[in-house]
């Protein structure tokens, strides 16, 4: 795949935005996003670039690089270019995370309504959700909330017209071209189709988030079969 050079802009004097996909686009190619996640890891771990950076935010089709001192931007960008080319050669080790889910009923109060919107039976919606192999495109919205790309186009439905006031932690939901799991209880506008008992975010753990940008995710039925 041919990936064009990024559009580079200063967001603030210490923040550089690298945009690899035009902001007007609706979705981002999986291969591109995987390379972005890889680049972000290389930048954080490389001895030439890591010390210059205080944060990197991965987003769909873009990276925001936050520098300790904006005046090192030129140096950082030079190294980034080298690492970007390197990221095309080396295939990163991908972690696959399996998430057990109880679908429907109290765990997935919006399952039936979401199935109606898709014009499918609840059973078919769940099967299509289980069939998907997802990529953690980025994290955002709240700590540990992963935007998972790779949802079957038959399940692409708009957000709910009025958001739920409280979605419990562990809720598995769909909206637009994404699926995701709510790490903590929050108001939200996605359709909740199931729930997992896994902890997605624990600020006191050595690795606070179950999912990292670039990881692969699969859903399985908790207990092994659909009721």
């Amino acid at each position: 795949m041919n990936i064009p050079d990024p559009v580079i802009s200063f967001v603030t004097e210490n923040g550089i935005l690298l945009e690899f996909a035009p902001p007007e686009s609706i979705s981002v190619d999986t291969e591109l996003q995987q390379r972005l996640c890889h680049l972000s890891r290389l930048l954080r771990e490389h001895s030439h670039t890591g010390p210059l950076l205080c944060d990197i935010v991965t987003a769909p089709g873009s990276l925001l690089l936050l520098l300790h001192d904006g005046r090192t931007a030129r140096r950082l960008l030079r190294h980034s270019e080298t690492l970007w080319h390197a990221s095309a050669q080396k295939v990163p080790d991908q972690v696959t995370i399996t998430i057990p889910v109880v679908y429907g009923g109290e765990s997935g109060p919006d399952l039936e309504a979401a199935a109606d919107l898709c014009g499918l039976s609840a059973q078919t919606l769940v099967e299509k959700h289980l069939d998907g192999e997802y990529l953690v495109q980025c994290l955002g919205f709240m700590p540990g909330f992963a935007y998972l790309a790779g949802l079957d186009p038959a399940l692409h439905i708009p957000r709910k017209s009025s958001p739920s006031t409280r979605i419990p932690a562990g809720s598995v939901a769909i909206a637009g071209s994404h699926t995701g799991v709510y790490p903590s209880s929050t108001p939200g506008g996605w359709h909740v189709i199931g729930r997992t008992s896994l902890t997605l975010f624990d600020p006191r753990a050595a690795q606070p988030c179950l999912m990292q940008p670039g990881d692969r995710v699969r859903f399985v039925v908790q207990g092994g079969h659909l009721s």
Partner: protein, 337 residues
């Protein structure tokens, strides 16, 4: 240890904030006036990332169960030192930016700021020693971790105080309740924020780009540690028949960014802002002016002025030099005494 006898909304423990976790969706948080935090820590000889109290409203009553050195900064809240049974005022109207000594049992009372909502800060020698979470003691109110129990402080809360830096305490206690001869200057705010055009600047129409710096903006009642909403003439995206100027993809965002939602009324992102956002970003406040957000309250009239990237870098390094000067002169003073 310090005990909260009387609390007011948004009394939180904050340090410099969380860094290095934004890729996981974790906000920075931290003191709104980080410049004052840095000055107070230097003055007390603390670790430069020691945690202090951010006071948003009053009255607040705090009891110190150990001899402590304190500095108040920010908006003047007519802070006074009371004795243990709160009958006698030992000292009125503490001057921001000077060290005062408290004896075990003393209480500190902070009233409302002249302009309610403007923040004050209380730093103690040794810092407030709650357990760091993800590398910071800052309270993340939205996500419920950090600080004392992931929440604003309530009456009855007991906050541990770290060990005071060596050599500062004994000498100061002798001059109890007298301000030390040296202090730091609380920067005065003028509600003029210097900005740099942002990623989506060119997507806005000519009128919007002109209006951004030429007009005054009023802060709406919708202001908190996550963001400050402004009111004024609507800023619109340029309408070109061929090109779609709407931003569909979210991008990484950070405190200081000025986002414009479809209603055209800008939002300044503040310390607790989330990590990604989908609204176009017209500009950003340069880092050395961010501390002023701590003193902007609903109704405040503000003005933006544009600087270039080179100017922004220059201004940031000037501020760093000022801090370095303070660091050096305090070091010199300590070595002499």
């Amino acid at each position: 240890m310090m005990e909260v006898l009387l609390s007011a909304p948004m009394l939180t423990i904050q340090d410099n904030g969380r860094q290095g976790w934004r890729h996981l969706g974790v906000p920075r948080c931290g003191m709104m006036d980080k410049l004052a935090l840095c000055q107070a820590n230097l003055l007390l000889g603390n670790d430069e990332n020691a945690a202090a109290l951010e006071i948003t409203s009053g009255p607040v009553l705090l009891k110190f169960n150990q001899n402590s050195l304190i500095v108040v900064m920010g908006a003047d809240m007519q802070t006074c030192i009371l004795d243990g049974d709160q009958n006698t005022v030992k000292r009125k109207n503490l001057i921001p930016g000077f060290i005062y000594a408290l004896q075990a049992g003393d209480c500190l009372r902070m009233s409302q700021a002249a302009q309610p909502g403007q923040r004050a800060m209380l730093m103690v020698a040794g810092g407030f020693d709650v357990e760091p979470v993800m590398g910071s003691r800052s309270t993340d109110l939205m996500n419920g971790f950090g600080g004392l129990h992931g929440q604003a402080l309530r009456a009855g809360d007991k906050v541990p105080i770290g060990a005071a830096p060596a050599g500062t305490m004994s000498e100061a206690i002798k001059t109890a309740n007298l301000p030390h001869k040296s202090g730091v200057r609380q920067h005065s705010w003028n509600h003029e924020l210097r900005i740099m055009p942002g990623t989506d600047y060119s997507r806005f129409d000519d009128k919007a780009r002109k209006y951004l710096c030429e007009s005054r903006w009023t802060l709406s009642p919708d202001c908190n540690r996550m963001g400050l909403r402004l009111q004024g003439e609507a800023l619109n995206l340029a309408r070109t028949p061929k090109k779609n100027t709407t931003r569909h993809l979210s991008i990484g965002v950070l405190p200081g960014l000025i986002q414009v939602p479809p209603d055209g009324q800008p939002i300044i992102l503040a310390a607790d802002a989330q990590t990604t956002g989908g609204y176009p970003a017209i500009a950003s406040i340069i880092s050395c002016d961010l501390w002023q957000l701590a003193y902007m309250t609903p109704g405040t009239r503000i003005r933006f002025s544009e600087v270039s990237l080179a100017e922004a870098h220059g201004l940031a390094s000037h501020q760093q030099q000022q801090i370095q000067k303070l660091r050096d002169s305090l070091k010199l003073q300590r070595s002499r005494s």
